[in-house]
């Protein structure tokens, strides 16, 4: 199955050689038919402790929620204070 991760506000560094963007996009391919949010984080190398908000179609997602083929997971770092 295929998924897209969009990491916002510096949560994921730019791809090699690219300029840093506010939102970094990664297209991922998984061998299994069912993937949880936490497994996606592991695959892109983002520490769960640095993630504040996880959204699928604009709705909050939990660690163990499963994602459908073609889904997009939006990730924001937690906001400790301005």
């Amino acid at each position: 199955m295929n998924l897209t991760v969009v990491a916002h506000a510096g949560l994921l560094g730019p791809s090699a050689g690219a300029k840093a963007q506010f939102s970094e996009r990664r297209d991922l391919e998984f061998a299994s038919a069912e993937v949880t949010v936490v497994q996606v984080l592991q695959k892109v190398g983002i520490d769960r402790g640095s993630v504040g908000v996880m959204l699928v179609k604009g709705e909050p997602a939990g660690d163990e929620d499963t994602l459908a083929d073609g889904a997009q997971l939006d990730l924001y770092p937690f906001f400790g204070g301005g």
Partner: protein
């Protein structure tokens, strides 16, 4: 209490010998002693006293608020008018300000607050505090009231009171230019007020180097009430630290960490404005006076657009590589700004943007510049305007009250003229709002209080306690009213790998606590980290340079303290000093009649979110919240019902000299 310094009883006699004492000092040349002197400035008598501070006093109280709170407790009389000559205004750099390490640029300004009637306390960074320290000054206490406007000129030779009638009314940039020319020192650093402080606006702040602000609690109005336009300072040399080699080593350690810490890197890349998109995505962005939690136009006023279209370059503070400040320009001549006055932080973007329904980033950037020129606090300004908008939409304010201004959410055109009116106390609306939203609500009546979002009469910052319960406890318990840096924020402890859980294991905060938990684990996090923040302020630590928000870990901070001072202090000893400071805050408020019934939250947070992804959820439980407040008292060693520090606690902290104030 040991009588180390002048007390209210003997101050007069000491001040009368001021000139002799000051002229007796030998000039500072080359290296400046790390431990500076305490300056007493009496503007009524036009006198200055510089006094030595015993070494053990520094070790007990460090610097910043801790160093001067004992004096303020004794010198400010009960029942004092915050804008009267009897109030005392303290400028107190953190202990490490001026040392050549990144992340310690801060100083605290303290006085009785005209906004809250409680302890006024506000930090600013920049370059001013290091300059004061390099002039040999540990802190300045200002009392009395000058007959006509003055400024202070601080050098290694002492402090001079100079006339400022010709710069009264001038904006801070003009005033800074004239002062630098007069003293013949183009590199003098100035902290000054704009017309907001001169006009005694209750939420006027103090700006240094034009773009760093002691924004909160109305301390600029206290400065204005004393006819004190500015303090200018120029150091005499570098601070003479105990172990310069070790300091250089620790400088490299912190600087290297700044390059790799992901939170620090984000601060460098995006500054604080990224909070706009993050909070909106989380469904907790203050919108329309907090009646809503999502803002449809967030992309128009967020970090992405600010960075892409308006950012000139990042700005920063003394010795700091992070450079989290956003210096901006606007091409549209209608909203053109002077880059030197800085760009909007997250708090400003939210307070004057989504919170007022404003979707023009140009308007917010211009509003930020105006507030900085007039030195009025952008949080309180935005929140006071949004409060008035809510009243207008509910029919509690009419077109007659607003002199025809359509004061509706989303009216971009209302913001800039209203800021002008508030800073000048001009027109019916400007006069109504210049004393803050709580006073305005009392004047409007008819239930206007329902739209207030204040704690101890200070407008709250842009963080929703319904997604971070510990933040709610901070709002309620902060001695200065609604404040968001009294302790650490909940998300730092959300998981076992979160930044705070990792960084604060050494102070017993190594277990994950849900941001929504309001039980003993959460209260312990707030209590211990509030002691830590007392320590941070005493040392001059910038929140954006130290754990958990950023790079410098606690053991490195302790190492810096010891390398600078020659002490062999441990983390528990320093944390104890932070706890001491926190209890002195509480004593100050107790002495001035601020009681436990003011340790509350606005009623809004005991109701669920109205819209967005969290609609219908996450109301705080009032009983559970009150119980958590009482548990905090107990953990701080205060009476669990009244919140007053106990005799035992004062003795345990070495504050037995203050027992008579209970």
């Amino acid at each position: 209490m040991k009588t180390l310094w002048p007390t209210a009883r003997n101050l007069t006699s000491i001040l009368s010998s001021a000139v002799d004492e000051q002229s007796g000092d030998s000039p500072l040349t080359g290296k400046v002693p790390f431990f500076g002197k305490l300056a007493f400035v009496d503007l009524t008598r036009e006198t200055v006293v510089l006094r030595d501070i015993p070494a053990d006093h520094f070790r007990t109280y460090l610097g910043g608020p801790g160093l001067v709170l004992g004096e303020l407790l004794r010198l400010i009389p009960v029942g004092a008018d915050p804008l009267g000559p009897e109030n005392v205004l303290a400028f107190s750099p953190g202990l490490l300000a001026g040392a050549q390490v990144p992340g310690f640029p801060r100083f605290t300004v303290l006085a009785l607050s005209p906004l809250t009637g409680a302890l006024g306390k506000s930090e600013a960074a920049g370059y001013f505090a290091p300059e004061l320290k390099k002039a040999g000054i540990a802190a300045i206490l200002v009392q009395g009231r000058a007959e006509s406007p003055v400024y202070l000129w601080v050098t290694g030779q002492g402090i001079e009171i100079r006339p400022a009638t010709h710069i009264w009314g001038a904006d801070p940039k003009v005033a800074q230019g004239i002062i630098r020319a007069e003293v013949g020192e183009p590199r003098a650093r100035t902290a000054s007020i704009g017309i907001g402080g001169e006009n005694l606006v209750s939420f006027a702040g103090i700006g240094n180097d034009l773009s760093h602000f002691n924004g909160r609690n109305g301390l600029g109005a206290v400065m204005g009430s004393k006819n004190l336009k500015a303090i200018a300072a120029r150091g005499a040399g570098d601070l003479d630290v105990a172990d310069a080699d070790r300091m250089r080593e620790l400088y490299r350690t912190a600087s290297d960490l700044a390059k790799t810490n992901p939170l620090t890197r984000t601060l460098h890349e995006l500054g604080t404005p990224a909070g706009m998109e993050l909070s909106n995505a989380a469904g907790c962005l203050p919108t329309n006076n907090w009646q809503s939690a999502v803002f449809a136009d967030v992309d128009k006023i967020g970090a992405r657009r600010l960075t892409d279209e308006f950012l000139v370059k990042p700005g920063g503070c003394y010795m700091c590589p992070i450079r989290c400040k956003r210096l901006v320009k606007v091409d549209d001549p209608l909203f053109a700004v002077d880059t030197e006055f800085g760009g909007p932080e997250y708090e400003t973007l939210a307070a004057l943007g989504s919170n007022c329904g404003v979707n023009s980033l140009e308007v917010i950037i211009k509003a930020n510049e105006l507030c900085n020129i007039y030195t009025i606090d952008t949080i309180s300004v935005g929140m006071t305007i949004s409060f008035a908008m809510a009243c207008y939409e509910a029919g509690l304010l009419t077109a007659e009250d607003t002199a025809g201004l359509e004061l509706r959410f989303g009216n971009n055109d209302a913001i800039l003229p209203l800021i002008e009116d508030i800073a000048r106390r001009r027109g019916p609306l400007g006069r109504l709002l210049a004393d803050g939203s709580a006073v305005a609500a009392r004047r409007i009546g008819n239930g206007a209080e329902q739209f207030l979002l204040t704690v101890k009469d200070q407008e709250i910052p842009m963080h929703d306690p319904r997604v971070k319960t510990g933040l709610g406890l901070q709002f309620a318990l902060s001695p200065m009213g609604g404040d968001h840096w009294f302790a650490q924020h909940d998300p730092f402890f959300a998981t076992e790998t979160s930044a705070g859980t990792v960084a604060f294991a050494s102070i017993g905060l190594d277990e994950a606590v849900s941001p929504l938990d309001l039980g003993p684990d959460k209260v312990r996090m707030v209590a211990r980290s509030s002691f830590l923040h007392g320590l941070y302020d005493d040392l001059g630590v910038c929140i954006f340079a130290a754990v958990a928000r950023s790079m410098t870990p606690l053991d490195v901070i302790v190492g810096m303290v010891n390398a600078a001072t020659g002490w062999q202090a441990s983390l528990p000893e320093l944390l104890r000093a932070g706890e001491r400071t926190n209890t002195l805050y509480r004593l100050f408020n107790h002495r001035h009649g601020v009681r436990a019934d003011r340790d509350t939250l606005p009623s809004r947070f005991f109701k669920p979110f109205a819209d967005g992804p969290l609609a219908g959820k996450q109301a705080l439980d009032p009983l559970e919240f009150a119980q958590a407040v009482r548990l905090y008292y107990a953990m701080a060693g205060w009476d669990p019902e009244t919140g007053v520090p106990t005799h035992d606690t004062l003795h345990g902290l070495g504050l037995e000299g203050f027992v008579d104030l209970l």
